[in-house]
């Protein structure tokens, strides 16, 4: 194993390859910065460029583009509340608040550091444990997948600051929007009213751009032009204290991300949402969540990166790509004669190790390039809002158009921009809506499969130990506040001192 690693580094870590990796990270970041263009597009568009290279160089360049594009999406989430893809939606919650407080540089830096640590940990686990973990992951059948998605939705509903009912409402709206279009598993067109644009469903990226980017712009106009954020360069920098505070969040996020990333289909979106939800519950600093807690950026960013890497476990050892980007990369491997499957690690050690080492290098380069650049990017916010928001309007609309080259996308952005603004005005949470929309088709597929497996009986949900445990956990999360409130009221009736103690224990 060590031999393999050394071999991998010897072939991959040449100065020339490092140069290409730098270029890849830079190009990827630029692509990721544009709304609507995420890592999948980035890799897909630049893939043909790599065909002229030797396999190892090509893989390194691709890894650089992949990680760079993901990070580019994080930058826009933090600075202008425009997540580039589903996995960075949660980052917006605290990241954007940090930016508004003049700590955008620190938010971007911790995202880079968290991603880096998560990547290193998950790659180490991937290298040592891929085949056995892949065997474990296939034990997750339809019922278990259904249960984990329900748990994911419950976690997101309960971590919202507002009322439980309103979070649940928005999750349902998300699921309903996901039901528009030709249905998974049935092939029947639903709620399309004869419009061909709606057949393929309400497009997710456009909805996110509308809700977050346009919704935020309209909201800002309404609440009045905020003064440009002027902070000293020093405040933009991340401090040692920030890193120390975030470290537990990064480790927890990496763990959550890794576990969810192994499961084919669950993916990095669910991982980032769950990691944030869990962090919000266990963090020592929980009262700051939603108002710019650095842990609220560190944890989902670590989770989505760990999940993206863990995604390669089913991809490499079973040949089952977990997501769109891994599928594109798989396409690249096959060009180099790589047949993913259980024997891959034995038959193609040079390429597999070259690939894993190139991921490692991609992450190192990302950190080296972006840590110094984070405060520079954050300077963007010094532009007066009167100039900034027209630019955001223009960029996000063209980005939305570019997703599918269709004017229909622009109307979606417009409609959801207005909906997003209304939701902000009356304080309806957006995160459950987004997760509902993303999970809807997956959830329905698992539901149909579970129903077919049980011949119409969904009882397997409660008899499978894994899914029963997850559902019980979900139920506990909903009931807990009531129980805690009751308990607290009783204690309060006795003595003040005791109340203090009880709150302390509850936390």
């Amino acid at each position: 194993m060590i031999d393999n690693l050394i071999l991998g580094f010897q072939t991959a870590a040449t100065p020339e390859n490092l140069l290409w990796c730098f270029l890849g990270v830079f190009l990827g970041t630029v692509i990721g910065l544009l709304p609507g263009l995420g890592s999948t597009t980035g890799v897909a568009v630049l893939l043909p460029l790599t065909f002229a290279f030797e396999p190892v160089t090509a893989l390194i360049l691709l890894a650089g583009i992949y990680y760079g594009a993901q990070y580019g999406g994080t930058i826009t989430s933090v600075l202008i509340a425009t997540p580039g893809e589903a996995a960075s939606v949660v980052t917006t919650i605290d990241g954007y608040q940090m930016a508004r407080k003049g700590r955008g540089g620190a938010a971007l830096a911790i995202a880079a550091i968290g991603s880096f640590i998560a990547a290193i940990l998950s790659l180490a686990l991937l290298m040592t444990l891929a085949p056995p973990l892949a065997q474990l992951a296939v034990r997750f059948g339809p019922a278990e997948n259904l249960a984990i998605m329900i748990l994911g939705l419950v976690i997101v509903i309960t971590f919202q600051g507002g009322k439980l009912v309103r979070g649940a409402m928005m999750a349902m709206v998300g699921l309903l929007l996901a039901a528009v279009g030709v249905s998974t598993g049935f092939g029947e067109a639903r709620f399309t009213f004869g419009d061909t644009n709606l057949l393929s469903g309400i497009p997710f990226v456009e909805v996110t751009i509308g809700l977050f980017a346009l919704g935020e712009v309209l909201h800002q106009i309404r609440v009045g032009a905020a003064a440009p954020i002027k902070t000293s360069f020093r405040e933009m920098m991340i401090s040692g204290k920030d890193v120390r505070r975030s470290l537990p969040a990064i480790l927890r996020g990496s763990g959550v991300g890794f576990v969810l990333g192994i499961l084919p289909g669950a993916g990095s979106t669910l991982a980032s949402f769950m990691a944030y939800g869990i962090e919000r519950r266990v963090s020592r600093n929980k009262e700051n969540f939603g108002r710019g807690a650095i842990e609220g950026v560190a944890s989902p960013e670590s989770a989505n990166n760990a999940a993206a890497n863990a995604n390669f476990i089913p991809t490499l050892s079973l040949g089952i790509p977990g997501g769109a980007t891994t599928a594109v990369l798989l396409g690249a491997f096959t060009i180099y004669g790589l047949q993913p499957g259980p024997l891959l690690f034995e038959t193609q050690p040079a390429l597999v190790w070259g690939l894993l080492v190139s991921f490692f290098i991609g992450n190192v380069v990302l950190l080296l390039l972006n840590l110094p650049l984070a405060p520079v990017f954050a300077q963007m916010l010094r532009v007066p809002y009167g100039y900034l928001y027209p630019v955001i309007l223009l960029t996000s609309i063209i980005g939305a158009y570019a997703v599918s080259n269709n004017t229909f996308s622009i109307w979606i952005v417009l409609v959801f921009g207005i909906i997003g603004w209304i939701m902000k005005e009356i304080d309806l949470p957006m995160a459950p809506l987004v997760l509902g929309l993303v999970l809807g088709p997956l959830l329905e597929k698992a539901l149909v499969q579970t129903s077919a497996a049980g011949a119409g009986n969904l009882g397997i949900l409660f008899t499978s130990p894994i899914s029963a445990t997850m559902l019980a956990l979900g139920a506990a999360l909903v009931i807990a506040p009531v129980v805690i409130r009751r308990a607290r009221a009783r204690v309060a009736a006795r003595r003040a001192a005791e109340r203090q103690a009880s709150s302390f224990i509850d936390s």
């Binding site: 049935f186 259980p342 269709n406 499969q449 077919a452 497996a453």
Partner: protein, 321 residues
């Protein structure tokens, strides 16, 4: 280790491509006046990791080589292919869109209301035929397809089908008709997912294309019980797999794989893509695609492909009864 020429070619490529991809794709065709506008997108109506995905990516790479265009692949899975085809229907008249087609093109319109059939599109090229194997887990008790059929008479046998009306479902239906038995079916969205379901023990058996299970068959995690083909495979790895007919099940059914353009495109665009397909069919990339995926080559273009689709349509109609 690296030759200077690679470095040159590489740097020239990145720099020029970043600045000029758009221009290059508009200027570098050799087939006369016409060229598709902008990036070409190949839609794959199934999830990543299945046979359809593999063929879509092979077509994209092959045509990229044949035309010098920049061609990307987009998975639009769901509804057993209906989501992807419906999306593609919305691309009517676009000369820069292609779709990796297979049996669903014919079987979906025959089995449900989808608002399209194969005449709604412009067929360009048929690549070849792909037969299915009945596959089970390595530690399964089944040794032959006859065992499986026998078992369905006394107990529940769960089979995965990727797509409710795809080749898997049709093959299973044909077995059910031929043997007068019934399977329980769980729908999945791609061969990749079906492999995971077999490995995890969520289904007992599944019909899969050879390319989807080659790695697992070699490692012994999965076993092929029989092939639903007229004759045994000539490919070495599969030569030992008996046909279903040898085991007393008279079922042989193949699915085609090819690619189509949207309906309503100009004649120039159709000619352009057919010419590109003919170049691709002569290339090593095409041959290695067919061999790597253990398919039977059957390159047909334009009108010949349409005639082939008409025949297939009649066959599927008969099979679905």
């Amino acid at each position: 280790m690296k030759s200077p020429s690679t470095l040159y070619a590489g740097s020239a490529l990145v720099i020029s491509a970043v600045l000029l991809t758009g221009c290059a794709s508009q200027n570098s065709q050799s087939e006369g006046e016409f060229a598709p506008s902008g990036n070409v997108v190949v839609t794959v109506p199934f999830a990543a990791g299945g046979g359809s995905d593999v063929s879509g990516r092979a077509v994209a790479a092959g045509l990229e080589e044949a035309t010098g265009l920049s061609i990307t692949v987009e998975n639009r899975e769901g509804g057993a292919g209906a989501v992807g085809y419906a999306h593609f229907q919305g691309q009517e008249g676009r000369d820069n869109a292609l779709l990796a087609a297979e049996l669903a093109l014919v079987s979906l319109p025959l089995s449900q209301e989808v608002g399209f059939d194969y005449t709604s599109f412009t067929p360009i090229m048929n690549l070849g035929s792909d037969y299915a194997l009945l596959v089970t887990a390595g530690d399964s008790e089944f040794e032959t397809c006859a065992d499986v059929v026998e078992a369905t008479r006394s107990e529940t046998v769960v089979t995965a089908v990727s797509g409710a009306t795809g080749i898997d479902a049709i093959t299973i239906s044909l077995v059910e008709q031929d043997q007068d038995v019934e399977f329980d079916r769980i729908p999945y969205e791609s061969g990749g997912e079906v492999v995971a379901a077999l490995l995890g023990g969520h289904v007992d058996v599944a019909p899969l294309n050879p390319s989807e299970v080659a790695g697992q068959l070699e490692s012994g995690d999965l076993r092929a019980l029989c092939a639903f083909s007229e004759e045994r495979y000539e490919y070495e790895q599969l030569a030992d797999v008996p046909t279903a007919a040898e085991q007393g099940i008279d079922v042989a059914f193949s699915q085609f794989r090819g690619f189509i353009a949207p309906g309503g495109i100009s004649d120039e665009a159709r000619e352009y893509w057919i010419a590109a397909a003919e170049t691709y069919a002569e290339s090593d990339a095409y041959r290695s695609y067919i061999e790597d995926n253990m398919m039977q080559p059957n390159a047909l273009f334009g009108d010949d492909f349409v005639a082939f689709l008409e025949e297939t349509n009649a066959d599927v109609q008969a099979a679905l009864g």
